[in-house]
């Protein structure tokens, strides 16, 4: 199936695989050098959308991803303002993708980073992700579609990059300003972060190469199964391999099921959380990181999905759905099933009208 080496995805995977463990070395939380879900959750908290005091920080990596993709799409003439493909369905897919990710404790990116550092509790999550993607593929084969977007006014495409700039301003206000409404954790994962300009720089670089390469953990598996195409999978393999090597070199590889950083060992819910997340992400068309990149290149529906992730993080922490190293949240099982039902109904009935 490997007909030809996928240059850009491998370049993206190599850079990402080195950069993420290095960010953890520079101060980001353990096995969380980069995590689209966790970092958006921290942003949600910093803006006061949830009150979990240990996970509040405006992550510069997220800002960098959006703006890096914006710059790249402009340079390669791929900035295309577009909108109007079932925005509210995408919003709630975002809410549930986040809830599933916070039951597992990480987006697909972090799941692979956890595995690359020897955290075997993520194996159940990997199984769940694959099952979720396979369910999504089944719906696509049966004709699932969220419908078409349409070209939109350039201003519509600038909203998410502008949102990134506003987040950067709020970050600087929170860091250096006075009487700030922005909340930053003083302990816990939210208080652990790499120096601002390193995080921002890495985010920009990754946003750039992810836009150019279309790097996406969902597409990696989906295209391999659906199309027998390993183009993006090659990038994912490069990412995991390089992350493993980098973790080894930095002394961050600790194999086992116990005492893994910001993880729990409840295999059933690691699995089911990722089934929900994997299904929601497949239906929406890509992993949270990929959606951040799309939102930077003018895809307003991807921006709506990101807003869904931010709100989903608020819901997850306000309603005791998010896990902690001690285990899952009290109301998580109910909400995971509710989310699965939402996704399955959407998967079965949402088809394009012709």
């Amino acid at each position: 199936m490997v007909r030809k080496l996928a240059y850009w995805p491998i370049v993206a995977g190599v850079i990402f695989g080195v950069a993420a463990p290095v960010l953890a070395k520079f101060g980001n939380p353990g096995n969380m050098g980069m995590c689209a879900a966790c970092f958006l959750r921290d942003i949600s908290g910093a803006l006061g959308f949830h009150g979990a005091a240990i996970v509040q920080y405006i992550r510069p990596e997220i800002i960098g991803l959006i703006l890096g993709a914006f710059v790249s799409s402009f340079l390669f003439k791929e900035f295309k303002p577009r909108a109007g493909s079932a925005p509210l369905a995408r919003f709630f897919l975002g809410v549930f993708a986040m809830i599933g990710a916070l039951v597992f404790l990480g987006c697909p990116w972090r799941m692979f980073l956890r595995l690359s550092a020897g955290d075997w509790t993520a194996l159940a999550g990997l199984g769940g992700l694959i099952v979720g993607i396979l369910m999504g593929i089944y719906f696509f084969k049966k004709g699932f579609s969220l419908g078409r977007n349409r070209p939109a006014h350039p201003l519509v495409g600038y909203i998410m990059p502008l949102f990134g700039v506003v987040l950067l301003a709020l970050l600087l206000w929170g860091m250096y300003g006075e009487a700030t409404p922005v909340k930053f954790s003083t302990k816990g994962p939210g208080s652990m972060y790499a120096p601002l300009f390193i995080s921002l720089g890495v985010g920009l670089l990754l946003g750039f190469v992810f836009q150019k390469s279309r790097f996406c953990t969902i597409a990696a598996v989906r295209d391999t199964v659906l199309l027998k195409e390993t183009h993006i999978l090659q990038g994912l393999v490069a990412f995991v391999l390089l992350a493993f090597i980098t973790n080894m070199l930095l002394g961050q590889f600790h194999a086992g099921f116990e005492k893994q950083p910001i993880a729990h060992n409840d295999a059933l819910w690691n699995f089911l959380g990722m089934v929900l997340s994997g299904l929601a992400l497949t239906l929406v068309g890509g992993c949270p990181g990929r959606q951040l990149v799309l939102s930077g290149e003018g895809d307003s529906d991807a921006g709506v999905f990101i807003m869904g992730l931010l709100v989903g993080a608020g819901v997850a922490h306000n309603f005791a759905l998010a896990s902690s190293p001690a285990g899952i949240g009290a109301n998580a099982p109910f909400m995971v099933f509710a989310g699965l039902i939402f996704c399955i109904i959407l998967g079965v009935f949402a088809k394009e009208r012709r």
Binding site: R3, F76, E78, K80, R82, S85, F140, K141, S145, L146, R148, N149, R150, P151, R214, A219, R222, D223, L226, L227, E229, H231, V284, G285, G286, D301, E352
Partner: protein
Amino acid sequence: METIDVRGLSCPSPVLEVKQAMDRGVKSLKVLADCGTATENVTRFARNANYSVDVKTFDDGTTEFTLQAQ
């Protein structure tokens, strides 16, 4: 010649529609796409499936592919 308009569809629908047409035995088809990812995916998929790929780009950002089984 069959025409498939995948403009505005998000991934993987564009390339999936092309694949499904090929699976039905369509030997020559025209595809209209409008985003870089879909354009790349359709080209790569068609070449791997042994179709020749002819590309025309229009001012409104639409790319028109003519795919022909070899």
